[in-house]
């Protein structure tokens, strides 16, 4: 997994940019409820009056308020208010924030005091309408003491005083003849525009992050795919077998695709959710610290519920895959055995078998579905319950005046954000281990080194010993990696130019292994393979393989035209050379019989040509290469006797002077070879011509006996 991180490096700048955008998006998203809260608190509840500092004041009101201000506050007042008309004062536009704070506190206090005096709650012991005269008579310190003692007794919180002040200012504006409705509307509009701006930012940042994330993820997977592909193509057969071809394919396709999805998600959700979660908590705390327990409770309940649901469902999930596999297996068997079951009249039995697998699967999936169906109602009720608790606790806070209604509403939204982020994060935690498995599987390829590498100073074997293509095995033993038994033991032989050397033996006797050692698909465990007298390990692989034209046991063709397929090893071959190869391979007739002849397109896997045709094309492909050594690994098995014979005749005519090595199953195919080597369980059981072996080698005789009758054996 760590190994793959470096594939993100080229995109570091984009990633940083992307993360900042995600951060911006989250911050803006979190800002929205804040604005909404302002809208409710100030826009609706407080008539658009955002604090206690009035924009205009009558001299008369100012005079009363001044009574409750100390010298410092009065100074601030004088600094920032100027006469507007004869008896009104106006707030100057360029007030410092420090002054605003001072004045806010001062006005709040003063408005509260004036309202208390007016309502008679602050009893001065004088007759009505004489209070202010009495107050003016007092000294500043006397008024202060009076105010303080009143404030302590009234015990008013910010919420209530705020409301009170807003009402007082609104009354004052009305007195001054201002349109209070328009004033409120202006505030609402301003806040609305701000909200829209923020929403637009959320959208833009989201799109931007999506753009960057997509590029990063797609680039990451492209780079990864490129390197994995290159790596695999350079693997020796050791690694291919260790991983298995099917596994390598899934790793390069599905697993990398999976990684791409994960990286995309990483930048979209995995970054966004925690930022939102943490931000939600911070904002929620800002609105109210004492209600945090609700969040904690909600999360605990949620975790508890999820834990219960999953602990009940998980064991069933685990067997689910097995049951699906079982159903697939039975269906596959039903299909592949359709003839057999009809022949033996076992259709009912097959239906029962299927029914059992089907019923088990259905039962299990019903259980899982029903348990998982709990998720939705449970989530809804937790979310709704959360809202209700917040309202209950919030209303008490509001009563105590430590919170406003808008704050409570915002708090609900922050709580939702927190819970949702938590869910997303837990989803990521479920997803990550799976992604990590994919990642590890891909990384495993990248960290594997090919067991077969070129030497630092390769010997050029092409010209050594005349370059005629002698192949020699010198005491070769070979063990497949991780195998206990030797697949080949102590094999020695020389295949000379101009001669045919043939291998025969039962399945698993090591024939193909011998073939694989010559082009160095594997390295010998002991001994040495020499081509032109040079140890194959001392030569460059490309140069070695230039000496060899090879027909594999499995006839792989590639998408492309027939001509392209034949030219695979000889890209510069002309049409004449291609046609000649096809002719020797007995492929000419069926190629020219095709609608487009040599231009006929081979579909993936070569499914549009028959097995025999595929084999002949594979042979033609090898024959198009002008190499001194030709390897035929069981290359005649899909041909009928007649074609087999014609091909061998053509080969004998055209391949003079070459070293030919054949693996075969039919004795008829190899009967005339100069040298036949009989393999049995990885050892040489006999070496010689057909006649010699018939006399001396019992294994050979037995093979021959199963294929031919006495009279032909003679």
């Amino acid at each position: 997994m760590k190994k793959l991180i470096k594939y993100l490096k080229p995109y570091a700048l984009l990633a940083v940019l992307c993360v900042s955008l995600v951060f911006l998006q989250a911050m803006c998203e979190l800002k929205l409820p804040d604005h909404m809260s302002d809208m409710v608190n100030i826009g609706v509840q407080r008539y658009g009056i955002k604090d206690a500092v009035p924009e205009r004041l009558s001299a008369w009101t100012l005079g009363r308020l001044r009574l409750f201000m100390n010298a410092e506050e009065t100074a601030a007042l004088e600094r920032n208010y100027s006469a507007d008309t004869a008896d009104t004062f106006k707030l100057s536009a360029d007030m410092g924030s420090e002054d605003r704070e001072t004045l806010n506190a001062a006005f709040t206090k003063a408005f509260a005091a004036v309202s208390a005096v007016d309502s008679g709650e602050l009893d001065l012991g004088v007759t009505c309408n004489a209070e202010y005269a009495a107050l003016e008579m007092m000294s500043e310190s006397e008024r202060e003491t009076l105010l303080r003692s009143y404030m302590e007794a009234a015990d008013m919180g910010e919420s209530v005083t705020g409301q009170l002040v807003a009402m007082a200012i609104r009354a004052e504006y009305e007195r001054l003849g201002m349109d209070v409705g328009a004033y409120q509307l202006a505030y609402i509009k301003r806040t609305g525009v701000k909200m829209l701006g923020v929403a637009l930012l959320v959208c833009a940042a989201g799109i931007g992050a999506g753009y960057l994330g997509s590029r990063i993820a797609a680039g990451f997977s492209r780079d990864l795919r490129r390197d994995v592909f290159k790596k695999v193509i350079g693997f020796s057969s050791n690694e291919i077998n260790r991983f298995s071809t099917a596994s390598l394919i899934t790793r390069t396709t599905n697993d990398i695709q999976q990684m791409q999805v994960v990286v995309t998600m990483l930048f979209r959700i995995a970054m966004f959710a925690p930022i939102m979660g943490v931000g939600g908590v911070i904002y929620a705390l800002r609105k109210s610290v004492s209600m945090s327990w609700i969040l904690v409770l909600a999360l605990i309940v949620l975790i508890g519920m999820l834990a219960v649901i999953f602990s009940v469902a998980t064991p069933r999930f685990k067997i689910m895959q097995k049951l699906v596999d079982r159903l697939n297996l039975v269906t596959r068997e039903n299909l592949s055995g359709i003839m057999v079951s009809r022949a033996y009249n076992t259709q009912e039995f097959e239906m029962q078998r299927f029914d059992r697998a089907n019923a088990e699967l259905t039962q299990n999936s019903l259980f899982i579905n029903r348990v998982m169906a709990l998720m939705n109602p449970v989530m809804t009720i937790v979310m709704n319950g959360l809202t209700l608790i917040i309202i209950w606790a919030g209303s008490h806070q509001i009563a105590r005046s430590s919170m406003q209604i808008g704050d409570m509403m915002a708090y609900m939204q922050y709580a939702m954000h927190v819970v949702m982020s938590f869910l997303f994060v837990s989803m990521i935690f479920i997803m990550l281990p799976r992604a990590a498995v994919s990642g590890d599987r891909v990384a495993e390829i990248l960290t594997s080194e090919s067991a077969i590498r070129d030497p630092e100073t390769p010997r050029d074997m092409r010209r050594e010993n005349g370059g005629i293509g002698t192949v020699e095995f010198r005491n070769v033993s070979f063990k497949y990696p991780d195998a206990e038994e030797y697949a080949l033991k102590d094999i020695s032989f020389t295949a000379k130019a101009g001669e045919t050397t043939a291998f025969i033996g039962s399945t698993g006797s090591g024939k193909s292994t011998v073939m694989n050692l010559i082009p160095r698909f594997y390295d010998v465990t002991e001994g040495a393979v020499l081509v032109n007298g040079v140890d194959v390990r001392e030569a460059a692989q490309r140069e070695l393989r230039e000496q060899i034209a090879y027909v594999p046991q499995k006839n792989v063709l590639f998408t492309g035209t027939i001509e392209e397929n034949i030219k695979l090893g000889a890209p510069n071959a002309g049409r004449a050379q291609v046609e000649r190869a096809a002719e020797i391979a007995q492929a000419k007739d069926f190629i020219t019989g095709k609608e487009h002849g040599y231009e006929e397109y081979i579909s993936q896997g070569g499914t549009n040509v028959s097995g025999g045709q595929r084999q002949r094309l594979a042979i033609a492909r090898a024959l198009a290469v002008d190499a001194p050594i030709y390897l035929f690994d069981d290359s005649f098995s899909a041909l009928d006797f007649k074609t087999d014979a014609a091909l061998r005749k053509a080969l004998a005519k055209n391949m003079e002077g070459r070293t030919i090595i054949i693996v075969a199953q039919r004795i008829g195919t190899i009967k005339n070879a100069e040298q036949i080597i009989v393999l049995d369980e990885g050892r040489i059981a006999g070496k010689g011509t057909h006649d010699e072996l018939m006399r001396s080698c019992s294994v050979y005789r037995e093979i021959a006996k199963s294929q031919l009758r006495e009279e032909e054996l003679a």
Binding site: M36, I233, Q257, V261, M339, N369, G611, K649, G668
Partner: protein, 640 residues
């Protein structure tokens, strides 16, 4: 990696029909059914047997939704009480009425509880219905498998049928649940919320209704724009994956022919193309969410502004605004869901179409009304039938097989067997020989009525094989095919497959006769070894021996053998030969032969070429005739 894992990798993963799917589900192109109405209609028929339950589901889903929708409106009262309480506090004219708020909250809790309860009940019933439907669909498919003519299977791959049983039925299972419940809840929510909003403020509702559908329009536009892009992305992905599969599959060949660089170059080219389309399609599908989110926010802000204005004028309470804000959120969701449902339904229809297409395949022709019966009469196997006068007649079974002017072609235009006649007497051995692809198995398939002749007839003891029931006819034959078919169970059960009612002792003696016994004894659990796909301790040759044992157990009148061409180790080979010879003794046998020794031991040889039987006769006769058989025979020994 464990063997289990490896196997799973090779299987098609669910949801991966026809290639690999890209990231992000949201805006992926959805495959469409050719006949949407018909497929959904057929599916409905399947579901309709659960009508009563479905009605309950609909009802419960609606109840649950309604209770949920009422919530915010009730909650508004609590908010209003709070708001007026705050003002009252400020005026010093009272406080918040906690008893009232508490009561409302309790009512709310009850509402939400009831809603959740009904929602779960609905889901409980619905999962029952969907699982029952999927179970029945699968069962019907599995039964159908056995009623379809073999012809069908020549044309389709196993994977295709398999994916109908698993992927398609799975898709139906999931999407059926999702779409039915979502249609109900989405529609109820939409209508309910609309009603609630109207009851609070028609003006605000109007404003909202004007804005919110924009999200559906926008996402629709984006999806439309991106269709082409998604398609090309799928295509490039297919190209890349195809290239990978092909290269890895032929990796040794590529290395042997030093073709690595060309392959890499080609790969990089298509990989770069994929990159271009991958990020674009991923980006586009990612754009929908923020845009829809923005439009959602737009509605939200609109409600805030309008609500604040109206509240400022006193025509709307604070609680109403709050309720409205909640409704805005729940108004957005069903709209995007409804847009999604059409996709889900398309998917369902496409899957259902494939399933019903299979279920609607033509079945085997009907059995004869009055068949010739094969019965055991006083220990003698007899053919029992009604003669021309309607009397029931019984004749002992002899086993003469006659082909009379048989003509057949897999494709009626193109006959592979033109006019074939032959008589095979009871106890005779027939070798069917010819080059690969000559259609040697066709004769066998006609004989066992896997296919019906199109011209002429095949007679058994003078009765057309079409006058028997298939079951009776096939009970005459035993078959050992080249690709051995074993199923996942013990060796014992696999042998018993030849005759399901055979006792253990009979199985054992069949195993001995087929030379299975001695290698089974070397296995750790003997006859109880489970055979499955990973079985490695049983070789191909040994598997063939097991299928021979199966035929021994069946003890058929006529034997059909398909000789193996693939080589097995010498010892097993000898075993197989001996087991087969033992089986053929005193039995009418048809051998698809590859070994000259087998061929020459037969009484009659059918020489096939280009799908037709060109010669028949004994080895000597055919050699003397110096025709196709002689040519093939001699080519084996020509010098190379």
């Amino acid at each position: 990696m464990s063997a289990e894992e490896k196997r799973r990798e090779e299987q098609p993963q669910p949801g991966q029909r026809g290639g690999h799917r890209g990231p992000g589900g949201g805006g992926m192109p959805v495959e469409r059914a050719r006949d949407f109405k018909g497929s959904i209609g057929k599916l409905m028929k399947y579901i309709s047997r659960h009508k009563a339950k479905l009605v309950v589901v609909v009802l419960f889903a609606m109840i649950s939704t309604v209770f949920n929708i009422v919530g915010p409106k009730v909650l508004a009262r609590a908010t209003n009480e709070l708001a007026s309480g705050v003002v009252a506090l400020a005026r010093g004219a009272g406080s918040i009425n906690f008893a009232y708020i508490g009561r409302i909250l309790l009512i709310m809790l009850a509402l939400y509880g009831i809603s959740a309860g009904f929602s779960y009940l609905q889901a409980w019933i619905m999962t029952g219905v969907t699982n029952e439907v999927t179970y029945r669909l699968r069962r019907d498919i599995s039964e159908k498998l056995h009623r379809i003519p073999l012809r069908y299977y020549e044309g389709v791959s196993q994977g295709e049928v398999l994916s109908r049983v698993t992927n398609d039925v799975d898709t139906i299972n999931q999407s059926m649940h999702q779409s039915i419940v979502q249609i109900i809840t989405s529609c109820t929510t939409l209508l309910g919320v609309l009603y609630m909003m109207l009851s609070i403020s028609p003006l605000m509702t109007l404003a909202l209704v004007a804005v919110v559908p924009l999200s559906a329009v926008f996402s629709g536009m984006i999806i439309k724009r991106s269709q082409g892009l998604f398609k090309s992305n799928q295509r490039y992905l297919g190209n890349v994956n195809g290239h990978i599969e092909e290269t890895y599959g032929g990796q040794t060949v590529i290395r042997a022919f030093r073709n690595e660089d060309a392959r890499i170059e080609e790969f990089n080219e298509i990989n770069d193309k994929l990159y271009g389309s991958a990020w674009k399609s991923s980006f586009l599908s990612g754009v929908i969410q923020p845009v829809v989110g923005f439009i959602g926010n737009l509605g939200y802000v609109l409600v805030c502004i309008l609500g604040a204005v109206m509240a400022g004028r006193g025509s709307l309470s604070l609680g109403d605004i709050q309720a409205f804000l909640q409704y805005v959120r729940s108004f957005n969701q069903p709209i995007s869901q409804v847009a999604n449902i059409s996709n889900v339904l398309q998917q369902t229809a496409a899957a259902a179409e494939r399933v019903f297409e299979f279920l609607g395949e033509e079945e085997l022709s009907a059995e004869p009304a009055e068949p010739v019966r094969i019965e055991n009469r006083d220990g003698v196997m007899s053919l029992v039938y009604k003669d021309g006068d309607g009397r029931t007649v019984a004749h002992p079974f002899r086993g003469n097989i006659e082909f009379v002017n048989v003509g057949f072609g897999y494709d009626p235009e193109h006959k592979v067997i033109k006019n074939f006649s032959a008589f095979v007497g009871a106890g005779q051995k027939v070798a069917i020989v010819g080059p690969t692809g000559a259609g040697k198995t066709t004769i066998v398939k006609l004989l066992m009525r896997f296919y019906d002749v199109q011209q002429g007839q095949i007679l058994i003891d003078g009765h057309d094989i079409r006058d028997f029931t298939r079951r009776d006819l096939r009970s005459l034959f035993g078959m050992v095919l080249q690709d051995t078919w074993l199923y996942s169970d013990t060796i014992r059960e696999n042998i018993r497959y030849g005759r399901r009612d055979a006792g253990d002792e009979e199985v054992l003696s069949a195993a001995r006769a087929a030379r299975v016994d001695h290698f089974v004894r070397t296995l750790p659990k003997g006859y109880d070894v489970e055979i499955d796909e990973e079985t490695t301790n049983i070789s191909a040759g040994q598997k063939q021996l097991i299928t021979i044992a199966r035929a021994v157990l069946a003890d058929p009148e006529v034997l059909i053998l398909d000789e193996a061409t693939s080589s097995v180790d010498t010892k097993t080979e000898v075993d197989i030969q001996r087991a087969m010879n033992g089986l053929m003794e005193d039995r009418t046998s048809f051998v698809i032969a590859h070994r000259l020794s087998t061929i020459r031991d037969c009484d009659v040889i059918f020489m096939m070429k280009d799908g037709d039987i060109v010669e028949q006769g004994s080895h000597r006769q055919l050699i003397e005739a110096n025709g196709a058989y002689a040519e093939m025979y001699n080519s084996q020994f020509e010098s190379a």
